[in-house]
Amino acid sequence: MDNSTKQYDAVIVGGGWAGSALAYRLASANKKVLVLEAGIAIDGLVTNPDENQLVTGNRAEFMNDFFMAMAKTPESPYVQNYNAPRPAVLDIQPIPPFTLNNPAQLPAGAPPPATIDCADPKTSIDKGYFIQRGPVPFGSTYERRGGGTSWHWLGTSLRMLPNDFKLKTVYNQAVDWPIGYEDLSDYYDQAEFEIGVSADVDEQQIHGITFSEGYVYPMAKIPATILDNTMDAGLADQTFDGSSLKVTGTPAGRNGVPNQMKNGEFYDNGRRQCQGNTNCTPICPIQAKYDATVTMAKALMTGNVDIIYQAVATNITLDMTTMEVTGVEYKTYETTGGPCTGTFTATGTKYIVAAHAIEAAKLLLMSNTQIPAGVANYSGQVGKNLMDHPMYLGWGLMPKPVYPFRGPLSTSGIEGTRDGAFRSERASFRIEIGNEGWNWPGGAPYNQVIDMVSPMPPDQSGAPTVGIFGTALRQSIQSNFTRQFRIGFLIEQLPDADNCYIVPSKTCFDNLGVPRPEIYYDFDVYTMEGFKAAAAATDFIFNTLGVENNTGVPVGNGGVFEYEGVKYYAQGAGHVMGTHRMGTTRDDSVTDANMKSWDHDNLYIVGCGSMPTTATSNPTLTMTALAFKAADAIIQSFA
């Protein structure tokens, strides 16, 4: 479909989470919207069902690929696309010290800086999409296809805390947000409705979170697992560093039992109840968990939205007199490994970049033909302040069975640790309770069964060894796996423009010739102190519960760093934030609080990249609220 000559009210770059939310809101206000999605289509999620899409995917195919994958990583259901590549676990390897970005830091006698061989894009991308410059590898991945990374989000839908919006004012750290909790409260209500969140209002009123009068979540809280209840029984009255360790249900974008809403109607989104597949990441088999294709489908049903897949935005053009955006250039391709088939320009009245924190920043910086520093980058902050919730994992065996590998991946957490006076000194965190045993840190059930059946020989060779079998094996499996559990600490990270940023590579390109993201990333003392506290909290919790502590080197150990002589293994949370932050002035932020570019009146940049600080809540719910806030501002700007 060639829409390059059609004039739209809004052109949205990105058909993922924020892009779908914006398309739906604008289309519902009768705006004509064009969505450019870099990746392949999802079956049925198209402008015109009769139109033949070049390449598509669907849940059944993704499930098949997931079943057949040896390593069931978050991206295992989703094949790589060399024309719109995405990172994978292979991207997260330790970075040798000699690749430090400053050659002056080379130790004496060290080999010259490593260069990445990316002459052939496909073989190079097979080894990882990011150009990781470190010193710590950035640990999170994302998806580029219809629906974006929502295909493998966990479902956690926590609100941010009031103090999270004013870290500078309250704790003299980093920056405040240009808005407060009260500015987002209504948008949180709307986001929870759109996603379909299951939770209990009474339980969520923590750390100053308030709800509007009579508010109920769309669905009742999802039942706790046996593990959740076991942990709560042992920890409800305990504190760590002054914070309560009480276990509470986690608001989740998974279907539960509908509530009667404020307007008297029972909530119904037409999708199934959660069946507890323990597979929210990498993929919910039955779409009981919300994903962005739900909202994009509604957007398309308005008749006001056109979506072009396999359309990779590569340049944003400007009118240098008005400084308004005049178009988005994009490249097309026919197959995921084939050549570029054309370059087109999409035009509209308003432009919205909602392309994921890393890809959005990359696009703005790549658009440097008219302004060398890139579009929307007067502040110099585009691509800077890259953040995640680096995660610390602790794992062990409960004294009694807790029956993991059942229910949603996570149903409860410890939220008391998310705020407190300690935030003047160290990062806060929330503690997620995992229902999938040692699957994440330990490759369960595979690695432990293999250790029982084919123990690794002392010389680590491939020589055969003698293990257990039959009845003894079955007894070991029952005894070990029914007691496995892990907790994960989502640790706050502060914006650090000098050490954490992404730029488009000047030397490495994808199959379309588009620059790959070159990433510089590190942890500051504030975050590393958070890791130290997380390790101490793990010891305290495990001792309190009588847990056999098995915390050691996790299977994914690429994010290793050392602090005060102790090695820590950071995991990515998939929460990529900060690269086009909003703020109060043009000098130190990329957009205003409505996510409108300070520099270009008709350009909006929306997504987790908008977040000035990370807080500790999984950011997706807040991103949805922000997308709705931006949508309101855009609709009003037409008036």
């Binding site: 098949n64 994958a69 039942p223 059946v453 020589a463 029914t482």
Partner: protein
């Protein structure tokens, strides 16, 4: 090795009754699917190893049940010439996966020929039911089942 020999040997190695592994009516043909791995050329199974495992099994398969595990222990598990192949039969049943015989399954050397046999082989993996759970990504439970204590399969 015949399919019957494979199933009876699998019962001894997994601790599950042969009738559980190969029910009279099995529309999913799990035992047949797993058995086919033993004749898959790309699995590079040394013929002598498969022959020896078959012969050894036939020499002890009539052992009275109470003594059978001890015979399997000595003749198969502790026999380094065939134990890796026997271990792979365990993995076929518990995971639905085949691991390169030439290395320890816990080592991720590349390239290798490790693979999942089929989606059905994965979803029928015994390890999940053994712990009272279901294969990740394949639950037949109803909403909220996870709040209740499961019944683990009985071990005889």
């Amino acid at each position: 090795m015949t399919l019957d020999e494979f199933v009876s040997l699998s019962a001894a190695l997994t601790g599950y009754p042969a009738a559980t592994l190969k029910p009279q009516n099995d529309p999913q043909q799990i035992s047949e699917t797993l058995f086919a791995e033993l004749s898959l050329a790309s699995n590079n199974i040394p013929a002598a190893q498969l022959d020896e495992l078959t012969q050894v099994w036939n020499s002890i398969s009539a052992t009275p049940p109470p003594s059978l595990p001890a015979a399997v222990q000595v003749k198969i598990i502790e026999n380094l010439a065939i134990t890796r192949l026997a271990q792979n039969i365990i993995y076929l049943w518990f995971f639905g996966t085949w691991y390169d015989l030439a290395k320890n399954p816990n080592s991720f050397t590349s390239p290798n020929i490790d693979h999942v046999v089929s989606p059905l082989a994965y979803t029928n993996g015994l390890v999940w039911g053994e712990m009272g759970a279901h294969p990740m990504g394949y639950s037949v439970g109803e909403y909220g089942y996870w709040a209740n204590i499961p019944t683990l399969p009985q071990i005889n």
